[in-house]
């Protein structure tokens, strides 16, 4: 178990260094002088730019050092949880991201709840009633679901529920009613792929010998499906939950932007538009950490679900 955790930690470090180094390199070589951005943001409009001011800022912020020194410095600061300051607002990046994180977490958990509530029942039903009308309809629903752009779905939901019916607020984050539309948008998109996986993994399990044994015991069909089949089918479902989490984060970027949801995704998009380099770097780092940790969590629940893995782990280490 410890060896496994260590391996994961190593991957985390490699991923963080890889991804941040890539972004760092790109920031360095792409248009947009950070010093000029600071000058415009903090000291007035473009007309106030003078080369003296810019070189002063450049020196002040350590931007005149070679790229590897800058990167090393940045990495060094990370150990003290210091991700630098925003070029635009001068706020500490770390504080900013952590103030935005609860909103993203709330959105992610809510949409997770929605997609599980949609995908598990429909997936099971279409597997149990394979080739029935339900199966066929859910298949079409899945195809439409995976082909639908989430931002378009968001706009259609707004159009219908907020503008025509006036039931739900268009955007913002003042309460639970503000969460419904973004979470639904995000949930539906992921529900489509999840339904497909639930169905195929359920079909796989239903063909297993132990399901026949369970039926031969005279168990009620509800127990055969709900207990014996479901717990086994959950193993692949949980395995891909890590990948689903990636789609969740990707979707969050778009959905948060549309619904003006104050999460990390929208922060990233805003920072990109403003070329706020430390903030972009901070968000990338943060998302990498969250993603790896989520996968770690997935692996742990996997161990809980499958006693064979538990057994092997115990005996290996």
């Amino acid at each position: 178990m410890w060896r496994y955790l260590f391996g994961r930690l190593l991957l985390l470090i490699i991923v963080v260094i890889g991804v941040t180094a890539l972004t760092f390199l790109m920031m360095y070589y792409t248009p947009g002088d950070p010093a000029a951005i600071i000058a415009i943001a903090r000291y007035g409009g473009p007309e106030s730019l003078s080369s003296d001011l810019i070189s002063w800022i450049r020196h002040q912020e350590g931007l005149d050092a070679p790229i590897y020194i800058q990167y090393a410095k940045w990495l060094h600061h990370i150990f003290y949880l210091d991700m630098g300051r925003s070029l635009i607002t001068d706020e500490p990046v770390f504080d900013k991201i952590f103030s935005r994180f609860p909103a993203t977490l709330q959105l992610a958990l809510a949409s997770m709840l929605i997609y599980l509530l949609i995908a598990i029942p429909i997936g099971i039903l279409s597997a149990v009633k394979q080739n029935s009308l339900i199966d066929y309809l859910s298949d079409i629903g899945v195809l439409v679901g995976v082909s639908m752009p989430s931002f378009w779905l968001a706009l259609i939901l707004i159009l219908f529920f907020s503008i025509y019916l006036g039931w739900l607020p268009v955007c913002g984050s003042q309460g639970l009613s503000y969460l419904i539309l973004p979470a639904t948008t995000l949930g539906i998109g992921i529900a489509a792929t999840t339904t497909r996986i639930v169905r195929s993994s359920m079909l796989d399990v239903l063909g297993q010998n132990y399901i026949r044994t369970a039926r031969a015991k005279g168990l009620k069909e509800a127990i055969v499906i709900g207990k014996h089949a479901l717990k086994n089918a959950m193993i692949p479902i949980v395995t891909i939950a890590g990948l689903q989490f990636a789609s969740l984060l990707e979707g969050a970027v778009v959905v948060e932007t549309i619904f003006a949801w104050p999460g990390v995704g929208r922060l990233l998009v805003d920072s990109i538009n403003q070329r706020d380099f430390p903030m972009i770097q901070g968000c990338v780092l943060f998302i990498a950490i969250i993603f790896v940790l989520a996968n770690l969590l997935v692996d742990c629940s996997y161990v809980y679900l499958d006693p064979r893995v538990r057994y092997n782990r115990r005996h290996q280490v």
């Binding site: 132990y210 031969a216 005279g218 069909e221 014996h228 057994y311």
Partner: protein, 310 residues
């Protein structure tokens, strides 16, 4: 009185290759307390008989005929009614016990479940009942084993677990489908012994499915030899094994006789492409013109045109 009476059972599978006839006009009677064995090469439909009785055939199977069990036709029972018979009055054990137990639940849980399934006892008593069953089937230190998972058991122990599950309600009929096939020879003997003890102790009837004639001889009084989905010879096991009449039975017995292996020439015909006349004639050393033209009926427990001659 017959406990089980199978009459004119036909089973077809609809597959991509078309309709496949796996059982045609299968008839069998099992008396109360008797033991009968179905033998034959793989793919001759032995397991299909068992699954038809349990109504556990896959959905693409079409079944007709009748299976009378205690004066009820199992084939026309409602789903709920057949569920109450499964595991309660008829139990089944399978080959490859490792794949037949659910890997994510403890062994004890799976035994206790079958005790509870038919309302045999209260929830809190199920554990004790399950441990009692494990003791009955000779699983050492059942209290400790109760909380272990199938992958922590050996093949022989898993088959004992399967038998515990089947014995939960002391059924009237036990169907054992190749119960010893995947086990070591020494373990096989133990399992055979266990099944033998249990059927005598509780007066159960046994329907054994096997291609191991040794196991059949050990456990059963009667035998039915199957070929390509129908019975070719049936009768008292001693009689059939000592004086086989049908050429197929003879070949089958000779195949495992003491003076080395003598395989039966050719292989089981494809069920989609059965020969004209007697289905065994392409492989039969005695085949005559008659055999190629008309299909023999089952008369006096034998399906052969020529048995009086030979």
């Amino acid at each position: 009185m017959n406990l089980l009476h199978i009459n004119d059972l036909h089973v077809n599978f609809s597959t991509k290759a078309g309709q496949v006839r796996v059982l045609s006009g299968f008839c069998l009677d099992i008396e109360k307390g008797s033991s009968i064995c179905l033998v034959g090469e793989s793919g001759c439909g032995k397991t299909i008989v068992a699954l038809s009785i349990m109504r556990l055939l896959p959905e693409n199977a079409q079944v007709s005929g009748e299976i009378q069990f205690k004066d009820r036709d199992l084939l026309i029972l409602e789903k709920e009614e057949i569920r109450q018979i499964r595991g309660h009055e008829i139990s089944m054990i399978f080959e490859q016990p490792a794949s037949c137990l659910n890997p994510v639940f403890t062994v004890g849980d799976q035994i206790a479940e079958s005790v509870r399934a038919n309302g045999l006892c209260k929830k809190n008593e199920a554990r004790d009942a399950a441990i009692e069953l494990m003791r009955l089937t000779g699983i050492p230190s059942p209290k400790k084993r109760f909380d272990q998972y199938p992958h922590e058991f050996s093949g022989g122990m898993l088959q004992r677990v399967m038998i515990s599950i089947a014995m939960a309600s002391k059924p009237a009929l036990l169907i054992a489908d190749e119960p010893t096939t995947s086990l070591d020879v020494t373990v096989q003997a133990q399992i055979v012994e266990l099944i033998k003890d249990l059927i005598t102790k509780f007066g159960m009837s046994l329907l054994l499915i096997t291609h191991d004639l040794g196991v059949a001889a050990e456990l059963c009084r009667d035998v039915a030899v199957m070929y390509a989905g129908e019975i070719v010879e049936s009768g008292c096991l001693n009689e059939v094994f000592r004086h086989p009449k049908h050429p197929y039975t003879k070949a089958l017995l000779r195949a495992i006789s003491d003076d080395g292996l003598r395989p039966i020439k050719g292989s089981v015909p494809e069920l989609t492409n059965l020969p004209e006349g007697c289905w065994f004639h392409p492989r039969c050393p005695f085949a005559e013109d008659q055999c190629r033209l008309s299909k023999p009926e089952l008369k006096n427990g034998i399906r052969c045109h020529l048995w009086k001659k030979n």
